[in-house]
């Protein structure tokens, strides 16, 4: 390449424009900023560990999470049961490992669904005339007036438990901020010169939306998704703690905390351990989201 030949030339008379031009890569810059600080990397490692645990759960777990060893109920941590057993003798560590599957699965599904619908509605609201815009945005305002945990609790409580209903409930609780942020981003991107140029040369509205506006919303959406998984997992834990989550005996962290609460004095690890798991996962996603935001676009601070 011209680059290397110039670089390797022995000539001492290299002037300013002969100097090697390093190709600037936005991707490389982002990666180096992201990995340049400890916390985002810690977050990434935590998430990776939990994903591995979730995928290989059945091979890692020392016991069957539903297997009741009644003779050993409420056993304290030992070699056979590293984190002890619960009130009907199920192995806490195995239940924690299986709980990771449920939590991560719900987190990822809910975020994918709510971001897909939310981004679509946000883009439609930003690109349409006043009537659809106002309908979408006023409904969003209405949803935003609820605390998101309360909205999810209402929908889950009225629909009843079960995996599908929890996913619907959490999606309803998540969607409004996605719509609002996407719409806001799209409206400000629309004012940029390249969009005006595209409109001037007669590009269709649809095409502008998909190939000019959407790619430029990529950074905030990615950050939103990362942090969103954390808050979905937190909400799911809160719902199942209140008893409106996934029905037993499926192991879920929130319910495990609640079940263990009765034995707080004698077996505190029953409540403590699943809480630590929730905290670690959420911490991981938050730190990774923070890192992504600073690496992709520090101006998003306070927006996402």
């Amino acid at each position: 390449m011209a680059d290397s030949s110039l670089h390797g030339s022995p000539s001492d008379e290299a002037t300013e424009w002969d100097m090697p031009v390093k190709k600037y890569s936005e991707f490389k810059r982002t990666v180096s900023v992201f990995f340049g600080r400890p916390l985002p990397v810690v977050g990434l490692v935590i998430i990776a560990i939990f994903i591995i645990i979730a995928i290989f759960g059945p091979w890692i777990a020392p016991h069957d999470p539903l297997d009741m060893d009644v003779m050993n109920a409420l056993a304290h941590p030992s070699k056979a049961h590293l984190l002890g057993t619960d009130d009907i003798g199920r192995d806490t560590l195995s239940r924690l490992i299986y709980g990771a599957r449920t939590s991560l699965f719900i987190g990822i599904v809910v975020i994918s669904v709510s971001v897909t619908i939310g981004v679509f509605l946000g883009l439609v609201a930003a690109n349409s005339s006043s009537v659809p815009h106002h309908i979408i945005m006023r409904i969003t305002d209405g949803l935003m007036a609820f605390p998101s945990i309360l909205l999810a609790l209402l929908v889950a409580g009225l629909l009843g438990g079960g995996l599908h209903n929890i996913i619907v409930a959490l999606t309803v609780g998540m969607i409004a901020p996605v719509i609002r942020i996407t719409c806001g981003m799209a409206l400000s991107i629309k004012e940029n010169d390249y969009v005006i140029a595209a409109r001037t040369i007669g590009t269709s509205k649809m095409r502008i939306m998909l190939s000019e506006i959407l790619p430029n919303c990529f950074a905030p959406i990615l950050v939103m998704m990362t942090m969103g998984i954390g808050s979905v997992i937190l909400s799911e834990a809160s719902l199942s703690f209140l008893g409106v989550g996934i029905s037993p005996p499926t192991p879920v962290w929130g319910r495990m905390v609640n079940d263990g609460y009765r034995y707080l004095l004698t077996n505190p690890e029953l409540s403590f351990a699943p809480g630590v798991a929730v905290m670690l996962v959420v911490f991981g996603f938050n730190m990774m989201g923070d890192g992504l935001r600073d690496a992709l676009d520090p101006r998003l601070r306070g927006v996402v």
């Binding site: 703690f241 409106v244 409540s271």
Partner: protein, 320 residues
Amino acid sequence: MAGYVIRRLLMGLIVIIIVTLMIFLLIRLLPGDPLLVYITQQQFKATTFDPALLEQLRVKFGLDKSLPMQYLSWINGMFHGDFGESIQLRKPVSKLILDRLPVTLQIGIIGAIFATVVGISAGIICALRRGTWLDTVITFLANIGITVPSFWAAILLIYLFGLKLHWVPIGGYTSPFENFWLNTRQIILPVFCEALFGLAANTRLARSCMLEVIDQDYIRTAWAKGLKERVIVWRHIIKNGFIPLIANTGFLVAGLFGGSVIIETLFNIPGVGRLLTTALLGQDYMIVQASTLMMVILITLSNIAVDISYGWLDPRIRYE
């Protein structure tokens, strides 16, 4: 300014109307019949199921009318202070809520003040001492604070301060007018747990807002012309960095109400949050819709107050 205030009030009103529709439709269109739940509970011992009684109750609670009529009579009733009657408890919902509201408000307001004052001060200290060990420790604690599930933090604190150290009771509520000292000891943990997320989020936000201001040219100018640190911090940094923080107060209030649902259930506190959870699990529609609406109205009102003070502090916002 007057135009701005009126615009905000109108928008708030529209939001509240939309919310009443949402709550109403959500509750009516989803599966589950509260009267069936009620009857099966009441007639637990009876072997036969009486359809006539069901019909009678349906008329009594107005559930036989069409949906738009039910909605209108609900709204109409609310203007007369009538929020309907609880299907399970057989008491007027307005009384049930009004009895419990002061409890929720006491914990919520103390929590909001705590989260605002302590959170913002901590964030400002971090920003002013950026890079020192104090900044590292506080930022780390704040990062933990936004990730800890509030129910789990509550259980941890109950274990430590209630069960092991016996410093505070592990639950319950006494009116401060009855026994002030007992009330204080009972609400310390709930207030802290409910405010924890807001406290941590405020710290993080305050830190980044202040850092943004510290890098501005006018701060450098202020240093360059030899102003005292105290003047720069108070008059230039805090005054300018404060504005985005006020906007966050609306989220803080929403978070506190959302948290009250969990914290009141856990600490066995007779507030609106626990009333709502119990009613939801028992499918007591009247209580669910009224208490949810009340929370949303309080949140919307605080949002309006925030927006108005925001417009007053930063005149640019009024003209958007």
